[in-house]
Symmetry: C2
Subunit: 539 residues, 2 copies
């Protein structure tokens, strides 16, 4: 594959292969011409909006994991919705494939070109359009960084209803397009509930046929779907915005988003807990639901290997309960990441339990009652309550750093599944045994680790290895997908389908559902120019 | 219109006219034949599933307000999803129009035949399929009554995430199909967030064209869309279930629903408050949001006329703050419903503020702090806290009874709009003045009243009159819709579009959105047999 030739040194040294092996470039798509580039430069006001330099193109062509890489010759950076619509009109007429890209922080190859698709970056569309303090609603262009929006909301006493590890670089349009879940879904719900409105640019005009009552001069030539309202309730016809939440840019390009903000909590409590078994983890979850109830804002878990990975591979990250890493001394331990489970102070599982509330005294009383009960029941062997914002940040860094630590360690096969909570960790154990039995155990440098949003039934299963290895992959897939399907789970809880799982969709969706998706795609994007090869399986 | 001839006495005495005047029966639809009836009787196991007796048909042909009436010759009562799919297959092949009907508690004519459509009632599909205590998820057939589901959930410590006045007769399939909002959306969010899965029967098979990898023996012949999962998170392709939430049965018939239950609160506090002005109402709302925060579960308001209507027209309903009605003596007051605003103890506005929490002491402290502050600020002139479940039920009856009281008083024009909270009541005042100026004031027996879910920005605007009157209607519409559109509101916050507002959709949705809706309808239901004349405007 041509893509491989352009891959960076790091990727090649891990033995990576084209993860889109088997996908062929659709010959119906045109090749980019100089005339196309001239059109884009004229439309987007010169070269600032049109990136063609090969070094400058690299971050548009590759994901941060260095796992997916395309070879697009151009990345466009429009500033307005009308420009996005005009790019789509042009690309549709020219049959140029387009890959929409936000912060490019995804994990399934959804925002990276597979071949030579035109990259349409929303990065320059980063204006906050409106923040209403009375209703707590925010309207922003798609390219706004999640953390910037949260900071703007914080200044008025609000918070964004979603938070995730990539908040410093992910964009809200990408969050919506991938239906990002994150750390506080257990409290604030999914984007299907908190997104109030969207503006979407469509690849084809959506105007009545026949003698048109709509003038041809409709905004964006009928390609701008304006659903950008900030109403909490609006039952006027089909809730079209929902189609684009989680469509991963295959149906349209989200250009602006209206979100219901949550009030910023006056009181935040955070506990890090050590649990002696996975059964103890699930019992602690049930207890937290009952005793923390309306103030519960996050319930996360990680296994001992995850803790060891984060404290070993990230500077300044420590686990106060295991004694691993932390502070200036952490990085210098040099004891590897063999897992703390067997060590003196270590525990096989850790949990983060957080509350958001309006009354610190009430919240502390609830948290103390919860901790006392959990320890009395033997579900929690040890625990620590963050006593400052700095301590809380340090504890969150342990959890949020796992993904980055895995990438630093080497090759990583990532799975993001929903499973019934009680049996969730069984998959980690079963896969670990399966790989060990085939010679891919700890001695071979392979780690099978589990962490995630246990409050939502969402497991992040990761296999860390010294290098990418087709034989190893063959042991993991389709085993993981089959396991999940057998337990009525989801093969993608929050990461989406992207390129990685497009041909695995049938593990979670039946033929009628997939056919309906296909027809909706055909209705909105008949030439298939938007993010081809992604989400839907090959026909 | 033929429909009028069959109308009941009560309706005729109010001077009702065909509210679907201007809608013509689509000649593309077939007339029901004896052969069709024979097919249905064979399919549904004899006459118990096929209603043809004219008296027995009346409740299927007419809404509870007696405002919409069709003249269907048959109502079908299937018991299984496969039977629903088979009815749709047959009706599609015969070009028989079908109106899906749940509890028939809607307010916009969505669940009543307009002409002679076949009624497909989900009433016999009333089995709870699964209730998982660990994950708090419920799976039920579409015909289950909301209250029955809530009682089943209560037995395991949970509650349904929605509650509305019609809970004793509305069905969960209808709740989902109309995206019902109700009293506690402010806390538990909309059904777009709390519905985890759906099963939907489609009018046409959704199977891949060409050499089919799917056997023709697919369940329901490819007409059953099985999205009936109970996962909190599932990002595998387009979230198709969202299309059917609020589609009012025009895209498919919801046959089963999976819902995320909420924990049943250990502590419920309810306050009835009297506010001296609408500004005081909105200030009290802001204070409740800040001080009750995570325990706030409902914020409702009603004006003095609504209070007077409920206490006058409903037995045993009283307002402890105004001294109107209540107990055995209430019904005998005989002082009419002229509004308590001008009376000695009355107040122009009342609010219900409710909390759901896990700790009664904490919740009481929060509620007391909120009430003290609201009274100190002059926003609340008087108030009462329910000290028992019976008192709480009595207070809720005042609020929930308004709709029924309006119907008992006579003719009623109902509007259900979203507007910015601060200016919400201005519409009531403006319309009242407009009608008074045209001779439709109190002396003419006309009342313009407002109440609703102020916590969600949702106003129920009602015009009560002695009888239906085209001149009066001409003063109300399109005035109300134009007002709402001018303020970027919604012409239907929660009631839906149905027959009533199909030709008004453009007040809330632009041409691109309406065209996309139309094409999705054409994709799923190319012969347009499902709930015709509803939701989408005439082309």
């Amino acid at each position: 594959m041509i893509a491989l030739l352009a891959r960076g040194q790091k990727l090649a040294s891990l033995g990576a292969r084209a993860l889109h092996a088997g996908v062929q470039r659709d010959p119906a798509f045109s090749q980019l011409s100089d005339k196309d580039l001239a059109f884009f430069e004229q439309l987007l006001g010169g070269t600032s909006g049109v990136v063609t330099d090969s070094d400058a193109l690299e971050p548009y062509n590759r994901d941060w994991q260095k796992k997916y890489e395309g070879h697009s010759r151009v990345a466009l950076r429009p500033r307005t919705t009308e420009q996005v619509a005009e790019v789509l009109r042009y690309c549709s007429s020219r049959r140029l494939a387009v890959v929409p890209q936000g912060g490019n922080t995804g994990l399934v190859g959804g925002s990276v070109p597979v071949f030579d698709e035109v990259v349409l970056s929303t990065g320059a569309m980063n204006k906050i359009l409106h923040l209403d303090e009375v209703s707590g609603t925010l309207v922003a262009q798609a390219g706004c960084i999640l953390q910037a929006l949260d900071e703007a909301a914080a200044a008025r006493g609000f918070m964004m209803p979603l938070d995730l590890g990539a908040k410093g670089s992910c964009q809200v349009g990408g969050n919506v397009s991938t239906n990002a879940g994150g750390l506080r879904l257990v409290r604030y719900g999914s984007l299907h509930g908190s997104v109030l409105g969207l503006e979407v640019a469509l690849p084809e005009p959506m105007l009545p046929s026949g003698p048109a009552p709509t003038p041809a001069s409709a905004p964006g030539g009928g390609r701008v779907l304006d659903l950008l309202r900030t109403l909490r309730k609006d039952n006027t016809g089909y809730d079209l915005k929902q189609l684009f939440i989680g469509a991963e840019g295959t149906l349209g390009i989200v250009t602006a988003v209206a979100v219901q903000l949550a009030p910023r909590p006056a009181s935040v409590q955070l506990a890090l807990l050590a649990c002696p078994s996975f059964e103890a983890v699930t019992a602690t979850l049930r207890s937290a639901r009952r005793r923390l109830a309306e103030v519960l804002s996050a319930v996360e878990f990680l296994d001992a290997d995850c803790s060891a990975l984060a404290t070993t591979h990230l500077e300044g990250v420590g686990n106060p309960l295991s004694g691993e890493g932390g502070g200036e001394g952490g990085a210098g331990r040099g004891q590897g990441d063999a897992g703390a489970g067997a060590s003196g102070r270590g525990s096989p599982f850790y949990m983060l339990v957080e509350t958001h509330g309006s009354n610190a005294q009430h919240d502390q009383e609830k948290m103390e009652a919860f901790l006392e009960a959990a320890m009395a029941e033997g579900c929690v062997a040890d625990g620590t309550l963050a006593s400052s914002e700095a301590q809380a940040r340090a504890i969150w860094r342990l959890r949020e750093g796992i993904s980055e630590a895995l990438v630093r360690r080497g090759a990583v096969y990532k799975y993001d599944v929903s499973l019934p909570t009680a049996v969730m960790y069984d998959l980690v154990t079963a896969l670990r045994q399966r790989l060990e039995g085939a010679g891919y155990g700890a001695a071979a440098g392979v780690r099978v680790v589990g962490y995630g949003h246990i409050g939502d039934g969402n497991l992040h299963l990761n296999v860390s290895a010294p290098r990418y290895d087709d034989d190893l992959l063959g042991l993991i897939e389709p085993y993981v997908y089959e396991y999940v399907a057998r337990h009525n789970g989801s093969i993608s809880a929050e990461h989406g389908i992207g390129l990685m799982k497009a041909n695995c969709l049938s593990y979670s969706k039946g033929p009628v559902a997939i056919e309906l998706m296909r027809r909706i795609k055909g209705l909105v994007d008949p030439h298939g120019i938007l993010n081809p090869y992604k989400v839907l399986p090959k026909p």
